[in-house]
Structure formats: structure tokens, C-alpha cells
């Protein structure tokens, strides 16, 4: 892939939290690339570090407890981790936008919905109040909300509609990169489909890239070009959608797929992955998955596990990938 | 624990619930132990209580013993905190006074919480007109400033130790009533009461076994914090001429009695106030920790 196609390049991103004297290793050396116009699915269990990665890219982590310990995030070749804060303000909301997980709490309860969208407009342009209001009403229409609801407050909307407002706010300036943090987890299944469809259509229209964070493999299958599986703050497998779904190789990924109940085959029992994710204060040495891995050997418990490229573009951080 | 097979089924059902409750209080206790400030508070309170209880051992004077040669004297070797207007050793009066003040604070607070729980439960459980009347009364009590309620009740009942406790308790019960009522209402709506009813749990039983344990934490907190409040309120009442008066060696009464001669004998006001401050401080410290321990989610 040529360098002009590459929008985002993350290398060795490491984030730590300090909480009550302990250090929480939230993100431990995450690396991936994302091309323009493509979407990456970031899959993992709760607490694996997915949200932290996204927030780190946008640099909206709460900085006293959290620290970005290292790594680079190249956006169009420029390391935005090193960007001064006032320059970063131009990036947020304009070049990179984020959609959050819980629509119920993502909006300011004492501000009208329209005003919150207009705010984005005024932050990144010289629009007057009237012009901003017009643009905001336009955005409301685009996401399927009647523009005359500009003066309504968030509590007057349902969860799905609040999420639409959040999407409207995020897409005002047609960002190059959209970070969608489990945008549909808190919503009903039927609404889920509509929201994802909406996000997809915008993305295609503006040729935006997207990082879609989710724990739902079904959503990944329908919406993502590439997939990264994250576990305990590390990407354990990375590849195209076909690579991951047809040829999963990391034992964790394999375990994930196997734990999905299959409708085709009559299942008597579910097959969960044995054990539980590690305490982020105490990440296992060597391969982070080795305590739960059915294929683990002694050499998995120590040393740096290499990130092997099994086939072009398909990476697996494992000594014994399943092929 | 289980002796025979027949009893094993019954024996396994109830212990689950009991174990859970133990678990919660144990957890609370553990969290408390870790909180340094709370522990300081607890120790402080304990020290003050001990001083009051062990007063006879700690001082060589009786609180009534008068030394007419030494009226209103300042701190000295024989009388580390001086003497009062009748030549009584101030320190021993203060130490013994702790008993009066602490009992006053604890019982009025306890009474207040108790009234709150009882009336709140009645209001919440029976609803309808009973609830309405009680809530209106609560509004009325809340409209009258707390000090005033205690004042008018004290006027009607007279000054004195026990009436002051009653007056203070009534003045402070509206909060407990509202809280308990809210709890009762929320529990009434929750499903597990329906479940309890389906296994034939009677109303009173429901109230005691299910509703009250939930009210315990906030009420416990309320009770703890209120103790300091009551002691201070009582002292305020003494200043006005109500509440506890001399010769009862209660801290508030002693402080009030020393007011007139503050210009010349400031120690008469300073020391009782110091004790009241100390107990308030330690209770507040502990109460803060208790609040965090009871609901760590609220920890800021």
C-alpha cells in the first residue's frame, strides 16, 4: 500500500493508569495501520483496552490517572501524540471524531441538542450563531431527526436518537477518521442495525476511515475491512476480515469464534474460553494469553512473543498459531 | 454444619442469605480499617469515651468537690484546666461531663433515627392518606427551623437533661422519615417483595426482614453524624437558657455558664468548647470514612 493511502499508523502505543497506588497496564504496545476509507474492527472483551486505545489516539484520556507512556500515532505522517495541545484542538472534532458508548450520558443534560451540535460548528469555523444553527439543523435532518427538535433537551430523546445526535456532532466536519466506541452496545438490536447503516453510509460518502470498537463479532463481520483482536492491552491478531473469519490463528481468536453458539449445528453446551482475563495490574509475562491458552508451553511464559506475519497482512502474536 | 441429609436442603437455603449479609458488613469493616482518617476519628472518639468512663481514675477530684479558696482560677499544676465559679476542678467536671454529653448526643441521635425509621416505614408502607398526612407533617417540621423546634418543645417540657434529649430528637427526625420512606417505597416496587409474598411472607415480616436491612447503611451514617450535631445543638440551647443548665456538668451547660465571665476567665469557655470540638471533629472524620466505606462508588 502506498504511503498516501495510509491514514493512520499506530506503533507501540502504551498507556498506564494509576489508581490508588497501583499501576494499571491498560494498553501494552499496540500497533496497527489503517488505510484511508477503510474500517478497522477492534475486537476484545470488556477491559481489554479498546476504549483506551481510541481515547489515546484522540488524546482525551483523563490525564492525571492516565499517562501515555510511549508509542507514536501517525496521522497523515504526523505524530499527533507529540502535537501541542492547542494544535490538537483543531484535530479533535475535525480530522478525528469520536462516537461514544453510552448515548444516555454522552450529552450535556442542561444544553439543548441543537446547541451541542452548533457548538462543534462554531469551534472549527467562523460561522455566526445563526449559520451554526442552520448547519446544526441540517445535521439533525441528515441523521433522521426533525430539525425543529433543535431546542429539545437530551432527556426528551430515546437512546437511539441520542446516539444519532452524537453521530451528527461527530460528522459535522466530515472527519478523516471516525472512532466509534461500541456505538450500538447500549441500544436495541433493531436500532443497532439502523445506526450502523447510518454510520456506514456516512463513511462511504465522505471516504472516512473508521475504527469500530466492539465485542460483537457479528458487527465486525458486516462492517469492517480489517480486524484487530485485542487482549489485555495487546493486539494478538490482526488481519483482513477474511483472514480473521476464515483462518483465525491466535488461540484466543479461535476460542472467541468457538464460543459463539452455532445455529447450524445443534449445540448441547456452550464453549467458553477457560479462565478469566488477567487483572490489568498484573499482566502475565511473555504471552498475555498463556495462562488460559490450551496450546501454551513453557516458552510462552517468558520473553517477547514475536508478531509473525502468517500471510501478507495477517499477523499473529503467538508461538503456536493455529493454521 | 449439616448433620443429616433430610435437613441439608433446608440448611443450604437460608445460610446463603446470612452469609451475604455478613459479607457486606465485613467488607465495610475492611474498607474502614484501610481508611486512615476514619481510624483516627474512631480512635479519637474511643479515647474521649474512655476518658469519660474512666473519669474517676483519671482525676483525683470529684466533680462536686468545691474549693472555695480557688474560685475561677486558671490552669495550674493542681488544676490542669482550672476551676469554675464554685471552685470545682474543671478538668474532672469536663471528664465526668463527657458522660452527660455523650449520652445526650447518642440517645437523642438514636431516638431521632428510630422515630424516623418507624414513622417513615409506616408512611411508606401504608401509603395513601396515611402517607399524605405524615408527609405534610414532615413538610411542616422541616419548615420550622430545627433550633426553633427544639426551643418550643423545650419551653413546653422545661429545661433539663432528658427533655432536651426528647426535644432534640423530635427536631431532627424529619430527615430520617423521608429517607426511610423513600427506601420503603423503592423496595415496595421491587420484585423481590413479590417473590417474598408468593412464599407467604406477612407484611410486618416483610418490613423487618427486607426493607429495614436496606435502610441500615444510610441510617447508620445518619446516626453517627447526628451525634456531634446534637451535642452542638444542645450547647446552643444552653446558651439561650434552655437545654441543659448548671449544675449538670454537661459540656454545653458548662460553656454557657462561663460566658458571662469570658473577659476575665476565658478558660471556662475554652475548655468545654474544645471538648465539643474534639468530639465533633473525630465523629466527622469517622463518619466521612464510614460513608465511603458503605458506598465506595461515591468515593471522590
Amino acid at each position: 500500500m502506498s504511503s498516501t493511502d495510509l491514514l493512520l499508523s499506530v506503533r507501540d502505543l502504551t498507556v498506564e493508569y494509576s489508581s490508588g497506588g497501583d499501576v494499571i497496564y491498560a494498553v501494552n504496545g499496540v500497533s496497527f495501520d489503517l488505510e484511508r476509507g477503510k474500517s478497522l474492527g477492534l475486537v476484545g472483551e470488556t477491559g481489554a483496552g479498546k476504549t483506551t486505545v481510541a481515547k489515546a489516539i484522540l488524546r482525551v484520556l483523563p490525564m492525571p490517572p492516565a499517562t501515555i507512556k510511549g508509542g507514536t500515532v501517525l496521522l497523515d505522517g504526523e505524530d499527533i501524540l507529540k502535537k501541542p495541545e492547542d494544535k490538537m484542538l483543531d484535530v479533535r472534532g475535525q480530522k478525528i471524531s469520536m462516537i461514544f458508548q453510552d448515548p444516555m450520558t454522552a450529552l450535556n443534560p442542561t444544553m439543548t441538542v441543537g446547541e451541542q451540535i452548533a457548538e462543534v460548528v462554531r469551534l472549527h469555523s467562523d460561522a455566526t450563531k445563526q449559520e451554526a444553527k442552520q448547519k446544526a439543523m441540517q445535521m439533525l435532518k441528515r441523521v433522521g431527526i426533525m430539525p425543529d427538535r433543535y431546542d429539545n433537551y437530551p432527556y426528551q430523546f430515546s437512546g437511539g436518537m441520542k446516539q444519532r445526535v452524537v453521530i451528527a456532532m461527530a460528522l459535522v466536519f466530515k472527519p478523516d477518521l471516525l472512532l466509534a466506541d461500541e456505538p450500538t452496545t447500549a441500544l436495541d438490536v433493531t436500532i443497532q442495525a439502523q445506526i450502523l447503516e447510518m454510520i456506514r453510509s456516512f463513511k462511504e460518502k465522505f471516504n472516512s476511515s473508521m475504527i469500530l470498537i466492539t465485542h460483537d463479532l457479528g458487527i465486525v463481520a458486516e462492517n469492517c475491512d480489517t480486524v484487530a483482536v485485542i487482549y489485555a492491552g495487546q493486539i494478538v491478531e490482526f488481519g483482513s476480515r477474511e483472514d480473521l473469519f476464515d483462518r483465525p490463528s491466535h488461540p484466543y481468536t479461535v476460542g472467541l469464534f468457538r464460543s459463539l453458539p452455532s445455529y447450524a449445528v445443534g449445540e448441547a453446551r456452550l464453549h467458553p474460553i477457560e479462565g478469566a482475563p488477567p487483572d490489568p495490574r498484573n499482566i502475565p509475562s511473555g504471552c498475555v494469553f498463556h495462562p488460559r491458552c490450551p496450546r501454551a508451553t513453557d516458552s510462552c511464559g517468558s520473553g517477547e512473543i514475536p508478531n509473525r506475519e502468517l500471510t501478507p497482512g495477517h499477523f499473529c502474536r503467538c508461538l503456536y498459531p493455529e493454521v | 454444619m449439616v448433620s443429616n441429609k433430610a435437613g441439608s436442603a433446608a440448611a443450604t437455603i437460608s445460610p446463603v442469605k446470612r452469609r451475604k449479609k455478613e459479607g457486606m458488613w465485613k467488607q465495610v469493616f475492611k474498607r474502614l480499617m484501610k481508611d486512615r482518617a476514619a481510624m483516627i476519628g474512631l480512635i479519637g472518639v474511643a479515647v474521649i469515651i474512655l476518658i469519660s468512663i474512666c473519669a474517676p481514675i483519671l482525676t483525683s477530684y470529684s466533680p462536686e468537690e468545691m474549693d472555695l479558696t480557688r474560685l475561677n482560677s486558671g490552669p495550674s499544676w493542681e488544676h490542669p484546666m482550672g476551676t469554675d465559679a464554685l471552685g470545682r476542678d474543671y478538668m474532672s467536671r469536663l471528664f465526668y461531663g463527657g458522660r452527660y454529653s455523650l449520652v445526650l448526643g447518642i440517645s437523642s441521635s438514636f431516638l431521632s433515627v428510630l422515630i424516623g425509621i418507624i414513622i417513615g416505614s409506616i408512611a411508606g408502607y401504608f401509603g395513601n392518606w396515611v402517607d399524605n398526612i405524615i408527609m405534610r407533617l414532615c413538610d411542616i417540621i422541616q419548615a420550622i427551623p430545627g433550633v426553633m423546634i427544639s426551643i418550643i418543645i423545650s419551653l413546653a417540657l422545661g429545661t433539663g437533661y432528658w427533655v432536651t434529649i426528647a426535644a432534640l430528637a423530635i427536631g431532627g427526625c424529619s430527615h430520617g422519615i423521608r429517607m426511610t420512606r423513600a427506601q420503603v417505597l423503592s423496595v415496595r416496587k421491587s420484585e423481590y417483595l413479590d417473590a417474598a409474598r408468593t412464599v407467604n411472607c406477612g407484611s410486618i415480616r416483610i418490613m423487618f426482614k427486607h426493607i429495614l436491612p436496606n435502610t441500615m447503611s444510610p441510617m447508620l451514617l445518619d446516626f453517627t453524624m447526628r451525634i456531634a450535631n446534637m451535642i452542638q445543638f444542645s450547647a446552643g440551647l444552653s446558651v439561650i437558657g434552655l437545654g441543659v443548665q448548671a449544675p449538670t456538668p454537661e459540656w454545653g451547660a458548662m460553656l454557657s455558664a462561663g460566658r458571662n465571665v469570658i473577659r476575665t476567665y476565658p478558660h471556662l469557655v475554652m475548655f468545654p468548647g474544645l471538648f465539643i470540638f474534639a468530639i465533633s471533629f473525630f465523629i466527622n472524620l469517622f463518619g466521612d470514612g464510614l460513608r465511603d466505606a458503605l458506598d465506595p462508588k461515591l468515593k471522590k
Partner: protein, 363 residues
């Protein structure tokens, strides 16, 4: 919303009347025969009986109650002082403004100093502003108000002679009462503000605001503070109520000729009409203040406003307990303040906020 206001006004009026009834009833049982007190020692039983009839004290309880209520609320006549024979209402009107002034000054100082302190501590969480606040606030909150007043008097008035310790001749007379009244209030308000801001700081919509590319300062002023300061409204309201209603001890200590001193002198002299009248008026004032606080809340928080508007349509619903102010506690670290951190989550308000989305668009 208008209907809600009307309902609340009526409710407040009922509370005022009810309070007057309760106060009168309790005071009815206060021992002591006013006729005997008023007449000199040589009065014969006949004189006493005549005096009682004159004062209307031989009437049955309900008649007396009715008289009192009528006089108080229709004619604004709260009776006459037994000792001085002057009108209670007159005495109060003379003194109430002074107490008001003291109260307003105290609240002003408390808010102006306390809120920024708390907000500052929350923003610099973990920093020295925060830690010093948490440590010192506990200290100042536990200080008994009147003891602090007495100590300050000893130091500043008696030993140093800088400030007067009684009366109201000069503006200097207000300094000590205001300071000693405000100290604990400042500590408390600072803590509450801090807690309120911290709660908002963790909110998702703050992250949303930041991710829009907003400067941190703007986030604080536009998103954080408006939400964080809403609970402060209640606290300020109750601060004021307490200042006016609870000054009785402070006024006695400072010989401040306000309504508190009026009352405490009356108590000492067993001049009960004054006590009764003052308590009724203060209760009415507090009830009114609570109404104002509720309305202010509705003004500030659109969700509450909608709750009010809806409740105006429904009859017979006791709205108060759905309202954040129902989380008032009367204690907070040894002094009565109305909003406590450990508030029992209002069970009905949680359910209600989802039900109020009646305008949901059909999918």
C-alpha cells in the same frame, strides 16, 4: 409549569398555616400563667381571673387557636408582648431587617469564598489545593459556631481590641458575626462544590465536549460548571434559611439586636407571645424559601422543569420526594446543611426520567 407553581404556592401556604397550628399547639402547653406573670405580686385571684379573661385565656383551646390564626394571617397581628405590652409584629419588623442583613452578608461571604475553593480543589484534584481543602475543611466544619465566635471575641475584641463584640453602631460590628457564621459554611460549601464538580468531571459528556476540540477552560465553564452548580442552589438556599432561622445563639453572643436576640430575651423573660410570633414568621419564611429553591432548581435543570410541568397535570402526587431537594439531610458534619453527598438515590426520579420521554419519535 404555571400550574406547578400554583400548586406549590398553595402547598406552601398550607405548610405555613400548619406550622402555625403546630407552633401554637406546642406553646399552648408551656407552663406558666401569663396573667400571673403580667400582674404584680399583690394581685388577687380575682385580678388574675379578670386578666385571663382579658387576654382571652379562658377560652377553649380551639377558640384560642382560631383567634391566633385569624389574627396572625388576616390581620398580621401576632399579639402583644406580655412584658412590654408592645406589638410583637412591630418588634419583629424593627429587628428582622437587621437579621436579614446579617444573613445575606454571611451567605454572600460563604458562597463567594466557598464555591470557588471547592471548584478549584476539584479541578486540581490531588494537588495541594485539593488536599489542603480536605484536611482543613474537616477541622473548620467541626468547630462549634458559637464557640468560634467566643474565641474570636476573646482574641479580636478583648485582647486586641480591634473589633467590637456587640451592638450594631458601625459596620465593624458585622465582621465578627459574619466571619464566625461563615467559617463552617465555607468549609461545608467548599466540600459540596468539590464533590459536585468531581461528579460532573467524570461524566461522559465532558469527554464528548473535549473530543469536539474544545479548550479545557471552555469545557469547564460551559459544560462542567453549569451542571455542577445546580446542587449548589439547594445548599445556598438552605444556608440562607439557616442563617435567618438559626441566628438565635449568635445574636445572643454578640448582643446583635436582631430577631434572634428578640426571641432569646423573650425566652429568658418568659414572654411567650414574642417567641410564638417569631417562630411562626420564621417558619413561614423558611417555607417560602424552600419554594424559591425548588423553583430555582426548575429554572436551572431542564429535566426538573419538565418533571414539574408534568406533575402540574397530575393530581394528588407528592412531588417533593422525586425532587433532588428531598435528599436534604439536616446534618452535615455537625451542622445542619441540606444537601448531603450520601444522598439516597431518589428511587422514583430514576424511573421517572425514562418515563418522561413521551415525545419519542416512532421508529
Amino acid at each position: 409549569m404555571g400550574r406547578y407553581v400554583l400548586r406549590r404556592l398553595i402547598l406552601t401556604a398550607i405548610v405555613m398555616l400548619g406550622a402555625a397550628v403546630v407552633i401554637f399547639t406546642v406553646m399552648y402547653f408551656v407552663p406558666g400563667d401569663p396573667a400571673e406573670i403580667l400582674l404584680s405580686q399583690e394581685a388577687t385571684p380575682a385580678d388574675v381571673a379578670a386578666k385571663r379573661a382579658e387576654l382571652g385565656l379562658d377560652q377553649p383551646f380551639l377558640v384560642q387557636l382560631g383567634q391566633f390564626m385569624y389574627n396572625a394571617f388576616i390581620r398580621f397581628d401576632l399579639g402583644t408582648s406580655w412584658v412590654r405590652g408592645t406589638s410583637v409584629m412591630g418588634g419583629m419588623l424593627e429587628r428582622l431587617p437587621r437579621t436579614f442583613l446579617l444573613g445575606v452578608l454571611t451567605v454572600l461571604v460563604t458562597v463567594v469564598v466557598g464555591v470557588p475553593m471547592g471548584v478549584n480543589a476539584a479541578i486540581h484534584r490531588g494537588g495541594w489545593q485539593d488536599r489542603s481543602l480536605m484536611v482543613s475543611s474537616m477541622f473548620f466544619i467541626s468547630l462549634p459556631e458559637f464557640w468560634l465566635a467566643l474565641m474570636l471575641i476573646i482574641v479580636f475584641a478583648l485582647k486586641l481590641g480591634w473589633l467590637p463584640s456587640f451592638g450594631i453602631e458601625s459596620w465593624k460590628c458585622y465582621i465578627l458575626p459574619v466571619v464566625s457564621g461563615a467559617v463552617a459554611g465555607i468549609a461545608n460549601l467548599a466540600r459540596q462544590s468539590r464533590a459536585s464538580v468531581l461528579e460532573v468531571v467524570r461524566a461522559d459528556y465532558i469527554t464528548t465536549a473535549r473530543s469536539k476540540g474544545m479548550k479545557e477552560k471552555l469545557v469547564i465553564y460551559k459544560h462542567m460548571l453549569p451542571n455542577a452548580l445546580i446542587p449548589i442552589i439547594t445548599v445556598t438556599g438552605s444556608l440562607f434559611a439557616r442563617c435567618v432561622g438559626g441566628t438565635i445563639v449568635m445574636e445572643k453572643i454578640f448582643s446583635f439586636p436582631g430577631i434572634g436576640l428578640y426571641m432569646s430575651d423573650a425566652i429568658t423573660m418568659r414572654d411567650y407571645p414574642i417567641v410564638r410570633g417569631c417562630v411562626v414568621v420564621l417558619a413561614a419564611f423558611t417555607a417560602l424559601l424552600m419554594l424559591l429553591v425548588d423553583l430555582a432548581y426548575g429554572f436551572a435543570d431542564p429535566q426538573i422543569r419538565a418533571q414539574y410541568a408534568e406533575s402540574g397535570k397530575r393530581k394528588g402526587q407528592h412531588r417533593k420526594d422525586r425532587h433532588p431537594r428531598s435528599r436534604r439531610g439536616e446534618w452535615n458534619h455537625g451542622r445542619p446543611v441540606d444537601l448531603t453527598e450520601e444522598t439516597e438515590q431518589d428511587p422514583e426520579s430514576k424511573q421517572h426520567s425514562h418515563a418522561s420521554q413521551g415525545e419519542e419519535e416512532p421508529w
